[in-house]
Each structure stands twice: as structure tokens, then as C-alpha cells.
Symmetry: C2
Subunit: 210 residues, 2 copies
């Protein structure tokens, strides 16, 4: 199954040190895999990758410094030969789409059995694509974001919890305009509240780009 030649070099990126170390232990059990680098922040991925030249990078989505998706783009641009496998905590439908668009070769949720991870790494290294089938179905169902640019921006700013007047000031808009965008977003997401709309949009990954 795995040649006895040079092992696959791995970079791990996860903000939770315990999980990172545990994954390293798990993957190191495989003879054809070797962990050459570990980082805890998204903005450390590219510098560390330049130094250690991994074959495959395992990136978490939720990370400080830089989004896992953004880190994927940056890494693909900096080291095109390095494949990316995104390993995320919870399978927000839109994350998969964004990750693939950013150049990831695989997408795995942390619910999957541990034994499958090594196989996923090998498949990605071989140039194949790896996706959770059920998650892929959900992604197709969720579709692309129906929100317009302004609506997304307003909703994103509204996460902070300020009042409509605050948002208006922050975005240099009239208070009524802000409320109108919010209303449109509420309608499109099928929510009842502003808070509800934020939840739905976040769950679908429609608020990503920082």
C-alpha cells in the first residue's frame, strides 16, 4: 500500500495545541507519514511551510491570525506543489465550497473515524480529491450565498452586536439603509430576527472573508 521509500512530509495547523499534538501522535504511527512541522496560527503556515517543505498540509478552518481558507490560498500560491487537506471541527456547508475554491485537495470533518485520516492524507498526496459525501450533498443543497455584497457587509458588522445606528456610523450609511439591508438579509435567509439571520449566514459560511 505504501512504498518503503521516502515518507510523506506533513505540516499540521490547528489552534488547539492538544489536538495538534494528538494528531501528530496519531499520524506518526503510520510508517509512510512523518510530521515535519506544527503551527498554531494561520499566518504561520506559509513561513513554516517554506522552511520545512511539506508534501501535504493539514489545516483547521478556525484559527487566529489567518482563516484556514485564506491560509489555503496563500499556501497554494507560495508552494504550488504542496497539497492541502482541510480538517475542520464542524461541517458548515459553505466551508467546503470555499475551501475547494481556494485550492484545497480535500475536506474532512473531525467526526470521521480516526483510521480514515491517514488514508485521506495518502489520497490527497496521490493527487486525488477527498470529500465527505454527506457534507458534499449538504453543500449542494445550501448553494451559493444569495446575499448581495452590501448585505453581507452589514450582516458581518452586525455580529458585534451594536444597534442599527452604530452600524450606520461604522459603514457611513443612513440608519434606514442599514435596516433595509438587514431586512433583505432576514428575508433571504428565512430567519425571523437579525440575530437569527446572522446565525444562519454564519452556519452556511456566507460571512467568511474576514
Amino acid at each position: 500500500m505504501s512504498g518503503g521509500s521516502t515518507p510523506i512530509r506533513l505540516l499540521l495547523a490547528d489552534d488547539q495545541a492538544l489536538v495538534r499534538g494528538a494528531l501528530a501522535a496519531l499520524l506518526s504511527l503510520e510508517e509512510d507519514l512523518t510530521v515535519v512541522a506544527e503551527v498554531g496560527r494561520g499566518d504561520e503556515v506559509v513561513p513554516e511551510a517554506r522552511r520545512s517543505a511539506p508534501d501535504v498540509a493539514l489545516l483547521d478552518v478556525e484559527m487566529p491570525g489567518l482563516d484556514g481558507i485564506a491560509a489555503t490560498s496563500a499556501l497554494r500560491a507560495a508552494l504550488p506543489t504542496c497539497r492541502v487537506l482541510v480538517v475542520t471541527t464542524f461541517g458548515r456547508p459553505g466551508y467546503l465550497r470555499r475551501a475547494m475554491e481556494a485550492g484545497a485537495s480535500g475536506f474532512v470533518v473531525k467526526d470521521t473515524p480516526a483510521r480514515q485520516l491517514a488514508d485521506a492524507v495518502r489520497r490527497v498526496h496521490a493527487g486525488l480529491r477527498v470529500v465527505d459525501p454527506t457534507l458534499a450533498a449538504e453543500t449542494l443543497a445550501a448553494g451559493v450565498s444569495p446575499l448581495t455584497e452590501r448585505e453581507t457587509e452589514v450582516l458581518r458588522t452586525a455580529r458585534g452586536g451594536g444597534s442599527a445606528a452604530d452600524l450606520a456610523r461604522a459603514l457611513h450609511l443612513s440608519e434606514g439603509t442599514v435596516r433595509n439591508h438587514l431586512s433583505a438579509a432576514i428575508g433571504k435567509t428565512g430567519a425571523r430576527n437579525r440575530a437569527d439571520a446572522i446565525r444562519v449566514a454564519e452556519q452556511n459560511g456566507w460571512l467568511l472573508g474576514e
Copy 2:
């Protein structure tokens, strides 16, 4: 440091299979530790513990079926000799307090370096208490919940996102009363919104007891 006699028997409970397996791999590297059981739901902890008789149980807080805190109580009641080490994703200040009240011997966040985990397990097994010092400080700062029982209940129900009228119907109260409790909670949490108050209360672990 560790005697060559019988190893410490461990039970792992975490809803993310990948993390669970990775932790098992990490801990199995230690000669004096052995993982005898793994479960993915809170309500499977006690039955599985009865069967496998572990010395120490590592429980995540966020789990389906039964809260990690509640699982701690249940496990302490069922097998008093089994120590509990709570290993949680994010260190909500109030979680620590609740976990200790429920009978946990230790509380570790997943940000801690992987090498310390095995030591934490050994300390817990030896009858010592293990807590993250910075988290302990935060917990004291956050203090006990200032919310009254009704306020907590209303806030907890409000998480679903319904309108005040919905809450009133669900709780058999007047709509005005619901708004009043909400208002009190908003004041006590220092929030501006209902949504804000929910966030703050959740972050401090004041909404736990299901």
C-alpha cells in the same frame, strides 16, 4: 516517575471521533497509561465505565446526549473511585466552577501543550487536583452567576430565537413579564441587546444546566 506495575486505565469521551482517536494515540505512547474505552456521547459514559472500570475518565464538555458536566456527576455517583479529568475546547470561565462542583478532579483546556496531558492524568490519578492557573483566575473574576432562576430560564429559552410572545407561551407567562426578565438580564450582564445578553451569559457558563 511511573512504576512498572499495572498501568492507569483510561476512558475517553469526545464527540469528535478524530480527536478522540488522536488523543488515544497520544496517550498510548506513555507506558504507564492504557486506553480501555472510547465513547462519543455523554450518555454512554456511565454504561461504558461500568463495563471497563477505568481509573480516570477524560470528558469533553460539549457532547450530544449528555453534558460533560452532567456526565461527571453521573459518573461520580456510579463509580466513586473513578476520577474525572475534564478536557474542554474553549475555557468558558463558568465551566470550571461547574465541573469542580460536579466532582471533577481536573480541568484542562485543549490549548495546553500535548506533553502536559499525560502528567495531568497521572496527577489526577494520584488524587491531586489539576487546573489551568490562568483559567482559575478568570473564573474567580467572572464570579458566580448574578442571574436569578427565572431570568436564567427565560434567557435559556430565548436562545432558540423566538419572539417575546413565543417565550411567554412556552413559559406560561405574560409577554410583559418575559420582557422584564430579559431586561433585568440585559442590565446584569452589561449587554445592550437580548442577543448580547445571551452571548455573555453563555460565555460565562451561566446557562448550563440544560
